[in-house]
């Protein structure tokens, strides 16, 4: 009998330990139900185009021309493409060594990185060096590359917000590091209290963990909160004092739904603080074409910008990037277009501005509709979605429900979400997938379903929820002890 080559027991433990709920149990169950013919509303992942958001026209025109450059030679190309799209396609093709089909520089096309640097400079008012900007196949790959650099073993801890986007917990698991949670304060609109940080770090250190980095997600995922400038200053000071590299996940920087706290980049705040912070805090900032009003998830386009990393470290990161040869070139062009979109006066500007505005304003409205909708439900409390793409309502499950979940062998919020899915077709991600305080339950949904469908979805949810709460409120569960 042949020796078994690969069985479950001999797999890398780190792989087995890692969890990624966004495409976990709920999603798999929803997919099963969909196959059986049930109508499913997938709100498990920030995937705007999957829920009907249309791609912006201009970038698709440019990239289509880059895919098929022979079109540029055709005298009739102007019938199908506006002149500025044609010009842009020629511009991006000229930055490549062989069009979309050639590996670029492993850090990304120098010309596009220059455009990214110019964007950052315009946004923040401080110069940005293209040599410190690396394009990646989506921001996630960039996060993995940086964490892979920072984590040496399980003695290294990474501060991660709770709740967090589980890319962080999954990657830390895969790399064999230790996640050091710091709790965001739900009662303060998911605010970040530096005292929570201090406590978490102290506890980790008492267990012999070297805390190496701190992750902030701003705007937050799943929580949506936008950090204030004061908060960012506190965080940067803290990182300076505690010698932590700050990883600023800023992929939702274009998704802001209130005006009190506009987006400010960690880099800008750091530079504003001046010496010794501006040259003494190490920072890596991440961005993407997947979110914002672009929503081009399927392109897999992202970048990270490094601040205050020693040149030799940058070289090592470059080396690892070169093993993957290069990020995909189409997405690099999307990134170039995102950071240098049509300007007033350009032929395509009006349409571009209209499309963008339409999407952003609708997202703002949907953030409100959803928050209000959840708050109108029994035993549900929901902070306002200040930014990003998600709503993260707290579901106050009655003891009877928690009991029933136990009996079904399920974590309580998973139990709730499965029931929600089966009753309504709404596929969410249970809060346990993101981390939460012990005994407090949530679910994450996106604000992405089409605006016209929102009222019906919220009604459907309310009906299910209120019935569920009535059912389990009536059951025995409250202890007299």
């Amino acid at each position: 009998m042949a020796i078994k080559a690969l069985d479950y027991d001999t797999l890398n433990e780190n792989v087995k330990k890692c969890q990624y709920a966004v495409r976990g149990e709920l999603y798999l169950r929803a997919s099963e139900l969909q196959k059986e013919g049930k109508k499913i509303i997938f709100t498990n992942v920030g995937n705007p185009h999957a829920l009907g958001q249309k791609p912006l026209t201009f970038p698709r025109q440019v990239v289509a021309l880059c895919q098929a450059p022979f079109l540029l030679d055709d005298p009739n190309v102007g019938m199908l493409f506006p002149a500025d799209a044609i010009a842009r396609a020629k511009h991006y093709l000229s930055l490549t060594s062989g069009g979309l089909g050639a590996y670029s520089d492993s850090r990304g096309l120098p010309g596009v990185r220059k455009e990214v640097a110019e964007f950052i400079q315009r946004r923040d008012g401080y110069p940005s060096d293209p040599e410190l900007i690396f394009l990646t196949d989506g921001a996630s790959k960039g996060v993995m590359q940086i964490l892979n650099c920072v984590i040496r073993g399980d003695g290294d801890g990474i501060l991660v917000p709770v709740p967090q986007y589980p890319l962080y917990s999954a990657t830390i698991s895969l790399l064999g590091g230790t996640l050091v949670p710091y709790y965001l304060d739900e009662s303060e609109n998911w605010g970040l209290d530096v005292n929570n940080l201090r406590q978490s770090v102290a506890q980790a250190r008492s267990q012999g963990i070297t805390v190496r980095a701190m992750v902030i997600i701003n705007p937050g995922n799943p929580t949506g909160q936008c950090l204030s400038e004061a908060n960012l200053r506190e965080i940067l000071k803290y990182c300076y004092n505690e010698k932590l590299v700050l990883l600023g996940d800023e992929v939702y920087q274009q998704n802001i739904y209130q005006d009190e706290r506009p987006f400010i980049s960690s880099k800008k705040v750091l530079m504003d603080m001046g010496s010794p912070f501006s040259n003494g805090v190490q920072l890596v900032s991440f961005h993407t074409v997947s979110k914002g009003y672009w929503g081009e998830c399927g392109q897999r386009g992202g970048y990270f910008e490094m601040t205050n990393l020693p040149p030799r470290v940058v070289e090592e990161i470059y080396k690892v990037a070169s093993i993957a040869l290069s990020p995909n070139v189409s997405a690099q062009i999307f990134m170039g277009l995102m950071v240098s979109p049509p300007k007033p006066g350009d032929i395509s500007y009006d349409q571009f501005a209209r499309e963008s505005k339409g999407i952003l304003e609708s997202l703002r409205r949907r953030a409100r509709i959803m928050t209000d909708g959840f708050n109108s439900c029994k035993n549900v409390v929901c902070n306002f979605t200040e930014g990003a793409m998600y709503s993260f309502p707290q579901i106050r499950l009655p003891p009877g429900a928690i009991q029933a979940a136990k009996q079904a062998g399920k974590v309580p919020d998973v139990f709730y979400c499965l029931k929600l899915l089966e009753a309504t077709g709404i596929s969410t991600v249970p809060g346990s997938g993101f981390g939460q305080k012990e005994g407090v339950f949530h679910l994450r949904t996106t604000i992405l379903p089409a605006e016209e469908e929102m009222p019906e979805i919220m009604d459907s949810f309310k009906k299910f929820n209120d019935e569920f709460m009535s059912q389990y409120d009536n059951n025995v569960g409250y202890s007299r002890m």
Binding site: P48, H49, N308, E316, K319, I323, A324
Partner: protein
């Protein structure tokens, strides 16, 4: 690009702790020394070397992330394809713009990397038509489109879009890739092999490389886990094993027999590794080979399959060059086909087969499209693979579409079939001619022997360097093949990769040169290479 710190960095770091000054004697890794000294260990606040080339921020230990505090596996891993020589070449290229007269050549010719379209190879029209239509689907609603695109590309675009929920090419797909595209790939595999393929066994990735990384992650828990790799090898394997903290168990291909793969060698290396306490988990085979270009004979493949089955090894079959076979006496057979034709099924062999859109006749490197077909794993293991794939959500959609197109290209009767075939045959026959021309030219050089490129995209000549040349290299603290390659670059503008980047039998020297420059440039390349080699030998002949 700067020099990369070499795989024996750990030794260097240990050595540097003991000594004041560096004085490295071991030739085999000298070529890859960084221009500055190795870093001190983190407990010391002083650099152990006298070299002062490092900037202040490098030596600052008040920052959390410095060279001596990053993951040592990152330091350890290496990738020579984009190494020191390329960095020099890029600098020369910049300088050529303003200083043309300073050089005996007009241009840099990059023969270091399998990147066909950067050297003028054209993409296949049909594939790009479909990709353009899927990029901007509004085109399909315009009547003018019919005048600009072939009818079958329009039809195919519609077919593909119908397989994508909401026709949304900008949405994350299923983490294994869009189902309909996997169906097309499975059908293509079946048409190729004569044995069925299951779309659920297919995992689409951003190029083949991420798939290799995933498997290494899965298989390697510690340095006690070993992966058998061919020497010479494409350095993705050594780098990935290093990054995941495993052990590379080398098996030497036999240059004298056309880079043959001997089972006796596999057995020997396997037992050797086991005797050292290493659990060998998998065997990586690159077929057609990179950098060596050999195409395995079918009976050889059967022996390999049996070997893996008997020894309980996962077979990692890198088959990205499956469309690149240039000799009439060899043919590509997938390992899946070989295993199935031996009567082996899911319970007999764990096999992962990698394919990519980067090579073949399509050469679409920048699109980052590829897949792995995973067979012979139990469902609980496959769930773990799915889970890993899901953390990155999905591979890029455009690459997925292209991967399905290369596995289901135009058929006889399709509108584009004739032009597609002409383009494909044109590219492949040109590659075959270039492989032959360059091989013959290399074999004419004094002290150079070069096996033929039966497949893939490279030639890997062996340099029998005179002692004087080896001594000169030593004096420059660099490996002899690196010394040769640098001299070649500076004399001719031709960029190749020293054999040490791929590993080789110790004491032998090679370089890897692609066959990709356009055909009309080949005579000039041959002339320049020949002239350089003659003068090199004149200088160093014993």
């Amino acid at each position: 690009m700067r020099r990369f710190v070499i795989g024996q960095a750990k030794n260097l770091i240990d050595q540097s702790r003991r000594r004041q000054h560096h004085h490295l004697k071991n030739l085999s890794f000298l070529s890859l020394l960084p221009p500055f000294s190795a870093p001190s260990d983190s407990s010391s606040r002083h650099l152990s070397s006298s070299s002062s080339e490092m900037s202040a921020s490098d030596s600052s230990s008040s920052l959390p992330v410095t060279l001596d505090s990053i993951n040592p596996k990152v330091i350890k891993c290496e990738y020579a394809v984009r190494g020191e020589i390329v960095n020099i070449a890029q600098r020369l290229q910049e300088d050529l713009k303003t200083n043309k007269d300073a050089y005996p050549f007009d241009e840099i010719i990059y023969c270091n990397i399998g990147n066909p379209q950067s050297l003028g190879q054209q993409p296949i029209t049909f594939f790009r038509e479909v990709l353009a239509l899927c990029s901007h689907t509004a085109l399909l609603d315009e009547s003018a489109t019919h005048g600009l695109f072939s009818s079958d590309s329009i039809e195919r675009a519609w077919k593909i879009l119908d397989q994508i929920p909401g026709k949304a090419t900008g949405a994350y797909s299923h983490s294994q890739g869009i189902k309909g595209l996997r169906d097309a790939i499975a059908a293509g595999i079946e048409a190729r092999d004569g044995f069925p393929a299951d779309p659920n066994d297919i995992f689409m990735t951003d190029g083949a490389s991420p798939g290799v990384h995933m498997m290494m992650q899965l298989l390697i828990t510690s340095e006690k886990d070993g992966i058998l790799c061919p020497i010479p090898q494409y350095p993705l394997y050594s780098a990935s094993i290093a990054l995941h903290g495993g052990t590379l168990v080398p098996y030497y291909l036999d240059e004298a027999s056309g880079w043959g793969l001997e089972i006796s060698e596999l057995k020997k290396q396997l037992e050797d590794a086991r005797s050292k306490g290493i659990t060998v988990r998998a065997l990586a085979v690159i077929n057609p080979g990179n950098p060596t270009g050999q195409v395995l004979a079918e009976d050889n493949q059967r022996d390999i399959v049996n070997f893996c089955k008997q020894e309980g090894l996962v077979l990692l079959a890198d088959e990205v060059y499956q469309e690149n076979v240039y000799v009439p006496d060899k043919k590509f057979h997938s390992f899946k086909k070989v295993a199935r034709s031996m009567g082996y099924g899911e319970k007999d062999l764990a096999l992962v087969s990698f394919q990519s859109v980067s090579k073949g006749y399509y050469g679409e490197c920048g699109k980052r499209g590829g897949y792995m077909e995973v067979t012979g794993f139990t469902s609980d293991v496959r769930e773990q693979i799915y889970k890993m794939a899901s953390v990155n959500l999905c591979s890029n959609i455009s690459g997925q579409i292209l991967a399905s197109l290369i596995m289901s290209p135009p058929k006889p009767g399709d509108d584009s079939y004739e032009s597609y075939t002409a383009e494909k045959d044109g590219i492949l026959s040109s590659l075959a001619r270039r492989a032959k021309t360059l091989e013959e030219a290399l074999n004419k050089l004094e002290g150079v022997t070069c096996n033929r490129a039966e497949g893939a995209m490279y030639l890997f000549p062996c340099l029998h360097l005179p002692q004087k040349a080896i001594a000169a290299a030593e004096a420059e603290k660099t490996a002899p093949d690196n010394f040769y390659c640098k001299r070649l670059l500076k004399a001719t503008g031709i960029v190749v990769v020293p054999g040490s980047g791929f590993r080789q039998v110790p004491g032998t020297w090679h370089f890897r040169c692609t066959i990709l420059p356009q055909e009309d440039k080949i005579p000039a390349i041959v002339d320049r290479l020949t002239a350089f080699h003659e003068s090199f030998m004149d200088e160093f002949r014993d």
